[in-house]
């Protein structure tokens, strides 16, 4: 489904990703772990199409198509979803209208009938309950004044509504208490299926107790330095990131 080869990306003249290779097949759940500054979030954002990062080398194919040639909205319509680490607030745009516009853009692309506001409300009600979100938040502006947990639930709600083929969760666990974490994990697990893939980007293994990955990759200094099964995450939990870090990164740490 997703095939990343030799991906290099930079922000300004600072190189962050230095040759990522990653293959994700339908039905799989991958966890990308790594210390702060290793490039995890960059990778997630590059896949979603944020243009503050420049891809300087390498390719990303999604279902065999060149993802890097598509604007972000095209990627979303093709079925890529990024749950943001820091969802932005958009005062003045109602959450309900936003969610409906997003769903209709995707439905239209899939050749499905667009929903009107009443049909949409019916369709969304169930999912709002699943993420244990106050329905009142639909009528507010997008993320405007939402608590950290509410923002993350809103991300998961969007994911549940859009039913992406590839969902990328960028540190969705950060700042969540255990109850919220369980709700978020349940939302993700419901999406698991043979036709979908999920990439969980996280610093801690905590979330992986609830979303059990098939594969774990460790990112360090812009490269995947280690890949393995779910045991790798447990090992990281026990031993920290030091033992898997790239030599350059270790050097850098020593110099600090």
């Amino acid at each position: 489904m997703l095939k990343i080869e030799n991906l290099h990306a930079a922000i300004g003249d600072r190189t962050i990703l230095r040759g990522i290779d990653l293959s994700v097949r339908a039905g799989e759940v991958h966890a990308i772990m790594g210390p702060n500054g290793s490039g995890k979030s960059t990778l997630a954002n590059v896949i979603a199409g944020r243009d503050t990062y420049h891809v300087t080398e390498g390719t990303i194919l999604f279902e065999g198509r060149d993802l890097l040639a598509m604007p972000p909205e095209e990627r979303a319509k093709e079925g890529i979803f990024l749950a943001f680490q820091h969802p932005v607030e958009i005062p003045g745009v109602s959450n309900l209208h936003f969610l409906k516009s997003a769903l209709n853009a995707v439905r239209k692309h899939r050749g499905l009938q667009e929903l009107d506001v009443l049909e949409f409300r019916d369709a969304v009600r169930e999912r709002v309950r699943l993420v244990e979100m106050e329905e009142e938040l639909l009528l507010r502006s997008v993320n405007d004044g939402f608590s950290g947990g509410e923002k993350k639930r809103n991300e998961i709600l969007q994911m549940a509504i859009l039913e992406p083929r590839l969902a990328i969760l960028d540190e969705t666990d950060s700042g969540l208490d255990i109850d919220a974490l369980k709700v978020v994990a349940a939302g993700v697990n419901r999406l698991r299926g043979p036709e979908r893939a999920i990439v969980v980007v996280t610093h801690y293994q905590r979330l992986l107790n609830h979303i059990v990955p098939d594969f774990v990759h460790v990112l360090s200094d812009g490269r995947i330095v280690r890949s393995g099964g779910r045991d790798l995450a447990l090992e990281l939990e026990e031993r920290g990131y030091g033992w898997v870090q790239a030599p350059e990164a270790r050097g850098a740490e020593v110099r600090q």
Binding site: A48, G49, D51, T52, P71, R75, F84, I90, H97, A102
Partner: protein, 446 residues
Amino acid sequence: MTLAAATRDRYLSAYDRVTGNGGRRPAWMRRLRDEALTRFLESGFPAAKEEDWKYTPLASLEGGEFELTPSGGTLSPGDVAPLLPREGAANVLVFLDGRYRRELSAQNALPPGAHLGSLAEAISGELDGLVPYFSRAPLNPFTDLNTMLMEDGAFLHLGKDTEIAEPVHLLFLSSSAERPVMSHPRNLVIAGENSRVTIVERYAGRGEAGYFVNSMTDIVAGRNSAVTHYRIQEDGDAAWSVATLRSRQGEGSRFAAHSASFGAKLSRYDIHAVLDGERAECLLNGLYLGKVRQHADHFVTVDHAMPSGSSREYFHGVLRDQARGVFRGRVIVRRDAQGTDARQTNRNLLLSKDTEADSRPQLEIHADDVKCTHGATVGTLDEEQLFYLRSRGIDVESAKGLLTWAFAGEVLRRFDLPGIRRTVESKLASWLPDSRGAREILRETG
């Protein structure tokens, strides 16, 4: 700036027309007109070197060969209907080229203690009680021009404890005659103690007509009164649209002035709000939109003369193409005005790189126990917000439209008349480069 001979002759003959046409009576009005004329001939139009007019290009206005229409243009109810609220309006005064058109107006049961009608009739009725309201110091050459050439406008008087529940609509239309016309509408609102009213002024004209409209509205809000004013400016694309709103508030009164500026080649809106009683509250809330080569100019003065007043100013400008927006916000806190709480915000959204916005806050504080804040921003759409919307499948043009709508909406959501808010939102939707999202929202909330 001294007037060119041809311009001087043009305004002198207009003055002769007005004063020969009943405009010389009563004597006090004649005297006020004469004084205004003398000042105007002396000052001419404001010069670009004057600080308050530095950004307002008046040269083309000054050269315009405007005339007062001999009889007022023609107009049918069909021209007026689209400018009236969908739900209908009990009281509507229609003015064409500055003259009252009774046959197109509607006046229905007003409560006892309320009077609404033509200002010209009130003046010629020799209501000497009006003199003080006309004798206030002029603000600038345009207000002099208005006094010297005004033909009519609305006069609204509310006695003590009088409330007009339905908004009063005032419609000022300019006709597209062969020669460019000018008009100088003048309105006077006197709201007595504990009275309550909402007034909606709407200005419109045909796109191709290069007319000049120069209105002035004086509002005196008595003790504990609540007065809300709207000005919706949708003058024609080739028009010069100048307006002055002057308010004076008594103790404990609440005054709100909302505005939306869409039209005109050049528009200038001067608001001069004086908080002249203790604990007066003043809200000034405006949206200006500019496209092509439009110039939209706001000059807002809030004068806190008495203690414990509060004022809020929110002005948002959205500019596209090569449009230019100017906002100057002056806040004066007089020595006696202790406990003043004044806040001013001006935000400008630039949708293309050839636009320009100038924002000048100016605080003059002579009291020590005051809270005064001001903030001005000029910027483009937020990249983070744009990416967020796009990452959910919303294409870039709709996303921009939606964010622009939201930016303008921050001002419009303070409009407390749903009908007017809706009207302005519809106009905003058609103004946007990409209005799909906005139209959908309007349908959903319709």
